[in-house]
Symmetry: C2
Subunit: 352 residues, 2 copies
């Protein structure tokens, strides 16, 4: 270990609880696999040895592959004995395509398990009880808010409701318009924001638009890296609606799989996506589709890129959402605002 | 001095340059008189004795009264000799209704003058040169950005352009609407934001609306304190346009003076206000008047209260501003975003 590492360790020890630090490492590991695990949750796990040193880190592998705990235990080997497993989700007790994680932790001789969020699914829950029954100390709730708003947000929503989590992403001017009077809309938002949207897309299971947006904007709906190359992950592209779309529409090319879903209630659109194993869905407009999803209560988060500009005319980013009077407005809570280049990025969640 | 004060002083000395601290005190003093000095600038001044102790603080008095330096020097008395004057604006050299501040500083035996912003007016500028000629050390530019964006912003704009500084304040939903489809608009923004708007109004010289807003909303356009009482300061209420307004409109009551200005180019409206000595003007809508002011380049700052709600229909906060295509959009720079209760408060300035 270099002198620098040693100083960094001392600093970290002085300023952050080692379990907090381990959970943050587990969260970071889970973020790496977001978009690759559905319908399983993107979980992260860190194994500390009996002296509190990190001896293994793991994250959920694609469906059929090992869970985070198993990956981390393999890395730790014999050093897990007497140690602590720090994991973002309560370890499972069910045998699916892989064995129960609670068993693996017991067999590895782990003395303590610390998890952030309890498993809400009937099939997999009970891990904490099984571990305690095996004489393992269990603590839950560590950085629970961070995990449940972060990497496990969509999966927890899906586990509780049976419906994919929908993030409505849009770009608009400060006065709420998504295009100018003549229809020009490229680009409302900054290059920084557009690059960020590609990073958001990459972690999604599916990207949803209506036929109207395909006709108007001919979007590609792919995730590209900073160099403009398609990312390894290729989220499913979903076009909703009954209108014909051009045979040479970019969304129909071979860059990623694309499916058509007939127009209908948003809940049935989401059911079709759930059947495809989609848990985390990005709704990318336009005003009509967003209005319909909002009215149906099918938007779980709003991610708005607000450009620092004013138009004064042109189509609004959001169309009719069934609101006639102010008292019926859809109320949100602003979770976070950050700058994205020159744009303002607002994350908000419904309060209904 | 109590033990607590002594500790606070030591802490302050350890963490902030004494001149910075004095300038911040001068800024705070100037903020207290904003809205009471036009057409003169709201200036703050702090006198430090030869040992660097604060011995006098002052701010511009209403027109005809003494300037900030004179108020602060009076408080300091003989302790100013050999000391430092810290002042937000370059001391003036002209004799108006009061004597030149540069003379007063020289006569008080001040050894050094530190100011934030140079005086851009031909009549009053030259203070720094006169002080240096008298053997006084002069330093400028201390916290200049803070002062020129803050208490002296409107006056500096007026001094440079001859036109009052216009802040367009509006409240809208996240999707940019200022009312629901049925016209209901009370209240889009939160009680916290509405209370803050009263504090903003109190420091303005004039509050501007169009006859359309008077007809639609019957606003009172007064500044009230937390208890609902009218503040001591009563900014001028200005109704722009040729339409009749109801004889019992609230804006016509005796709570503050109200003037009518005929419809016409925004620049002529502002000329009429400049003739009344107004330097700092709040434009409170509606969409048509704001669009006209924006198109005429007569908006100098935008203060948006964005409510965490979505409507999907209803009138937009901003009407036609002469923009046909995206390349013609009015570009802004976001200066600051803060939460105002549950609302998001955005301060932005034009970049054109």
């Amino acid at each position: 270990m270099s002198g620098d590492d040693s100083r960094a360790d001392r600093f970290s020890a002085a300023t952050e609880d080692p379990l907090d630090a381990a959970m943050r490492r587990a969260i970071a590991a889970s973020e790496q696999v977001r978009g690759t695990t559905s319908p399983n949750p993107p979980v992260g796990c860190v194994i500390l040895d009996a002296d509190g040193r990190v001896v293994g880190t793991g994250a959920t592998q694609p469906p059929g592959g090992p869970h985070a705990e198993v990956v981390a235990l393999r890395a730790a080997g014999a050093r897990a004995a007497g140690g602590t497993a720090v994991v973002t989700l309560e370890p499972c007790v069910h045998t699916g395509r892989t064995g129960p994680c609670a068993d693996a932790l017991r067999q590895a001789g782990v003395a303590r398990v610390v998890h952030a969020v309890a498993d809400p699914t009937a099939r997999a829950a009970g891990g904490a009880a099984a571990l305690r029954a095996a004489g393992i100390e269990v603590r839950d709730g560590l950085l629970a808010e961070e995990v449940s708003r972060g990497p496990l947000r969509a999966w927890l929503h899906f586990a509780r409701t049976g419906r994919p989590h929908v993030t409505w992403k849009y770009a608009a001017t400060l006065d709420g318009r998504s295009a100018a009077a003549d229809g020009t809309s490229q680009w409302i938002s900054s290059a920084d924001s557009r690059a960020e949207v590609h990073r958001v897309r990459e972690r999604m299971d599916a990207i949803l638009v209506g036929t109207g947006t395909v006709a108007a904007d001919d979007p590609h709906l792919t995730a590209r890296d900073a160099g403009g190359e398609l990312t390894r992950r290729r989220p499913l592209r979903v076009v909703v609606g009954d209108r014909d779309i051009a045979a040479d529409a970019r969304v129909l090319d071979s860059a990623a799989e694309t499916i058509r879903v007939p127009g209908g209630p948003p809940s049935s659109v989401l059911d079709a996506l759930a059947d495809r194993g989609a848990v985390d869905v990005l709704l990318e407009g336009g005003p009509r589709l967003a209005g319909a999803f909002l009215e149906a209560g099918c938007i779980d988060r709003i991610l708005a890129y607000i450009a620092p500009s004013l138009l004064g005319s042109g189509p609004a980013a959001l169309g009719d959402a069934g609101v006639a009077s102010l008292s019926q407005a859809w109320r949100l809570r602003i979770e976070e605002t950050t700058m994205s280049g020159v744009d303002l990025r607002i994350s908000a969640v419904p309060t209904w």
